[in-house]
């Protein structure tokens, strides 16, 4: 099982790296879908089946279809901002790469040096949220999505009517 976790995490990490360095829009979307599906495989390995299915339905379906629809609507094929022949020039990505690597080292040091034995006993106080609190959170999430949909419709409507 741990071997499957290694393979899926390596696929997810490499697909994510390809997403941020890719210059073609369709390839970037496909690599993003591969990365998200590898993450979903890891969630299934963690035995959180229902949430993994909800993740696949909402996140992968919703995010990938939204990105693809916008790229089709605007007829994007390539990244026109980055004009280098061999991708993004090292002058741009060298400084952020060093900063991100330092951050990664600090994060991994924090994860590794934590003593996990004190986390094993379950805290009863943390599990006091009842089912009604979850219903309230679901309603809040629905309001959030409704607000986002209204904002998107407002922008699109004004843009298309001005045109």
């Amino acid at each position: 099982m741990i071997v499957v976790f290694y393979i899926a995490s390596i696929i997810a990490v490499f697909a994510s790296i390809k997403v941020i360095f890719c210059r073609r829009v369709e390839k970037a979307i496909l690599y993003l879908a591969i990365s998200l599906f590898a993450s979903a495989l890891i969630f299934i390995l963690l035995e959180t089946y229902i949430s993994a299915v909800l993740y696949i339905l909402f996140f992968i379906g919703g995010a990938v279809i939204l990105f693809r629809a916008v790229s089709l609507m605007l007829e994007m094929r390539r990244d026109n901002v980055e004009n280098g022949k061999h991708g993004i020039s090292p002058k741009i990505w060298l400084g952020p790469l060093v900063l991100a690597f330092i951050l990664l080292v600090v994060l991994i040091y924090g994860v590794v040096s934590t003593d996990y034995t004190q986390f094993t006993e379950s805290h009863e106080l943390m599990h006091q949220m009842s089912i009604y609190a979850y219903v309230l959170m679901a309603e809040l999430a629905t309001f959030l999505l409704l607000g986002a949909a209204v904002i998107s419709y407002h922008f699109m409507h004004r843009m298309l009517s001005e045109k």
Binding site: S51, M76, N80, A100, L107
Partner: protein
């Protein structure tokens, strides 16, 4: 059973890759893709913690985070369309010239 440490290291790596993408790309479209990768790392951390404690609170929070990411994507793509119709390019740096 996957150890908690490995899952958290995986989530950290995904988060840092997304942060690197946010820093180096100037196209708003790819910036939103990098934001999705960053949020995917946070969601992975929530799933791993929920599986470690065998309680379903983390999964509920993860699904809430998925909803927040979807709202963020839809608003960001609407802003992208607005940027295209106003400025005719995808460069996020062109927004710094905007006056009042």
């Amino acid at each position: 059973m996957i150890p908690l440490m490995y899952g958290l290291i995986f989530a950290s790596i995904l988060f840092v890759i997304g942060l690197l993408g946010v820093m180096i790309r100037r196209n708003l479209y790819f910036l939103l893709l990098s934001l999705v990768i960053m949020n995917n790392g946070a969601i992975a951390a929530l799933f791993v913690a929920s599986s470690y404690w065998q309680q379903s609170d983390g999964e509920v929070l993860a699904i809430l985070a998925v909803t927040a990411v979807l709202a963020q994507i839809s608003v960001g793509l609407a802003l992208l369309v607005k940027l295209i119709y106003r400025r005719k390019n995808f460069n996020i740096d062109s927004l710094s010239e905007m006056k009042g």
